[in-house]
Amino acid sequence: MEILIILGLPLLGALLLALFGPQRFAADLNAGISMVTLIAVVFLVMRVLQHGSILALHEQFFVDSFNVFLVALTAFVGFTTALFSRPYMRIEEQRGRLNAVRLRLYHSMYQVFMAAMFLALLTNNMGLLWVAMEAATLSTVLLVSLYRTRASLEAAWKYFILCGVGIAQALFGTILLYLAAEHVLGREGMTALLWTHLNAVKGELEPRVLGLAFVFLLVGYGTKVGLAPLHNWLPDAHAEGPTPVSAVLSGLLLNVALYAVIRCKILVEGSIGTYLPGHMLMGFGLLSAVFGAFFLWRQRDIKRLFGYSSIEHMGIITFAFGIGGSIANFAALLHMTVHSLTKSSIFFAAGHASQTAQTQQMDGIRGLASISPTIGWGLMLGSLAILGMPPFGVFASEFLILTTAMREHPWTTPLLLIALGVAFAAIFRKVQPMVFGDSDAPPLSHSPALIPVFLHLAIVLMLGVYIPFVLAEWYRAASLLIGG
């Protein structure tokens, strides 16, 4: 029941927003729908707490410890982003960068995007997972090009083509998976694509076909995760789209794509019985982490900077999943959570910062702490959090990942340390003058929505000090499931 609400409500909302879009209350409606979705998710979570994993609607949907916290996270960040986007988009509209018609598109597509992500997370069907991922891409393409500037069109085109090609590879992988599964499960009953069934028989699936399928699936969904060298679309899309879109892309979509990869990894590793998938994840992850970190140095655009930071962090998470084992998986899941919260709050702050300075170029953003202390400190704290300063949660997860890597694969430690060090120096050097220093820019016309920023950062802080028992249990159960 909750699942139907979670999936149906955003779609209904999208329809409503498309019909009554140009009204003043559209932004509030958008936030309201997100809030009701969040409440439905809370009920779903309570159900899972009571009954454990759920299979619903002819086994087409399921919730287990691995996806339940991601669903909650998605709903939560979706809601706070909707809150943030109210004043943000109003300011954009006042400045003439957007008009009512485009705002209607924005609100409507925002909800479609949320629905697609929920579908991807909740579905038990690997085929539907693919369809949902593609739908998520399609709905965000128009969001990235919302400003209709040359740069945003270019970014959206790149995003579409690269992710389209990537997702086509993933489809081929899915076909191969189906081919292998059909042998064991048969065509009848349509169970051959259901993850729970596949997981039950994964030992019998033909290893060579599954190995090949994994390569395609990893490349396909990996493009959407933003793994190097398939990351090209990511910084552009993050920089040129509206800030709320950057926040949900970075905070949610990347997670969902990685979730798809890990689901596949569980099946494949069970089938081929070697660590090959894990090693591939480690390779891609390490490359992305190092690559992302070094590219941070060369950025001038604030949103691009944090786009590359997302590549780096997704790399670290992927690497941790690649190592496998309960501790690394635990750390990766934790890092997924804290990265999502921190990065979206950074984008909120950065969005308002560039609105204040009227430019996204970091050279033009100065003295945020004096013009608008909340924005300035939000950006500063967010950056410190993402850089892994204790006591924020990112520190805890990165520390766990590092120590595990040191024990399991010592040769990777220097690379990881270099990546983290370079990222630290690059981001800190760039954020510091933006926050401090002098400026004569006027403050924003609407009071910025910074409750989300501090709310996210507070949760991240809490996760650094204390992980609630429930969450820890989920992480532990999911870690066992992922194995490796």
């Binding site: 693919w130 369809v131 593609e134 040359r150 579409f160 389209g164 489809l171 191969l176 081919l179």
Partner: protein, 221 residues
């Protein structure tokens, strides 16, 4: 006439013509020719899907064949034709493509695809299993076309051709995915296509041309 040998033979022939059309697409510079070739690819897909459906006695495959006919032979090429007329680019041809080199790379890709498909073919039990390699080759060739061409419409045709290859792979390896998934894929394809159509107009409005070499400003300096 209806011997299984015969049907397999005809299917092989259709698969080969699919590959041939892919190569023809690589070697054409005119946008309009590409659209015609794309439509032909749809026709071949339709025929092969029908044949596989007949041979394997699966009604679902007739539905997906009908979907193919409707979408890929009639709707999409028609819209593409309308689109290029509206955009006034029907006589556009693509400069600076080294076609023999592209085809040589394509040949390498075909060999690679065949090698990759070997283990899959050995496992599949469908009558069309030998054609999986060809399906994979079609996917790779479409990918190659997208990489080498600089025009927006050509890239889209490459994208659609890639989808054709995937569809063929699904029919030849597994007699097609479950119908729900198939419908979802078709829907995604259609929506994606419409979004691209909107894009064409936006791009032209901003850049006065559909040449993507204008769109290279977002780089690391």
């Amino acid at each position: 006439m209806h011997s299984p040998y015969m049907i397999t033979g005809v299917l092989n022939l259709l698969a080969a013509s699919l590959l041939l059309i892919s190569f023809a697409m690589l070697s054409r510079r005119r946008t309009q020719r590409l659209i015609t070739l794309f439509a032909w690819q749809g026709v071949v897909l339709f025929a092969s899907t029908c044949l596989v459906g007949y041979r394997a006695d699966l009604t679902e495959l007739y539905y997906s064949a009908a979907l193919t006919l409707l979408l890929k032979v009639i709707a999409l090429p028609w819209i593409l034709h309308r689109l290029i007329h509206r955009l006034g680019v029907q006589w556009d041809s693509e400069p600076l493509v080294n076609i023999p080199a592209t085809m040589l790379v394509g040949l390498g890709l075909v060999i690679f695809a065949f090698g990759l498909a070997q283990p899959i073919s050995r496992m599949a039990t469908t009558i069309t299993r030998n054609t999986i390699g060809i399906a994979l080759a079609v996917i790779f060739l479409a990918f190659l076309m997208m990489i080498t061409r600089r025009r927006a419409i050509t890239q889209v045709i490459g994208f659609l051709a890639m989808e054709n290859g995937l569809f063929f792979a699904a029919t030849s390896a597994t007699y097609g995915m479950p119908m729900v998934i198939e419908l979802g894929i078709a829907l995604d394809l259609l929506i994606g296509f419409f979004i691209l159509g909107i894009f064409f107009f936006q791009i032209r409005e901003q850049f006065d041309s559909l040449d993507l070499s204008n769109m290279e400003s977002l780089k690391e300096e």
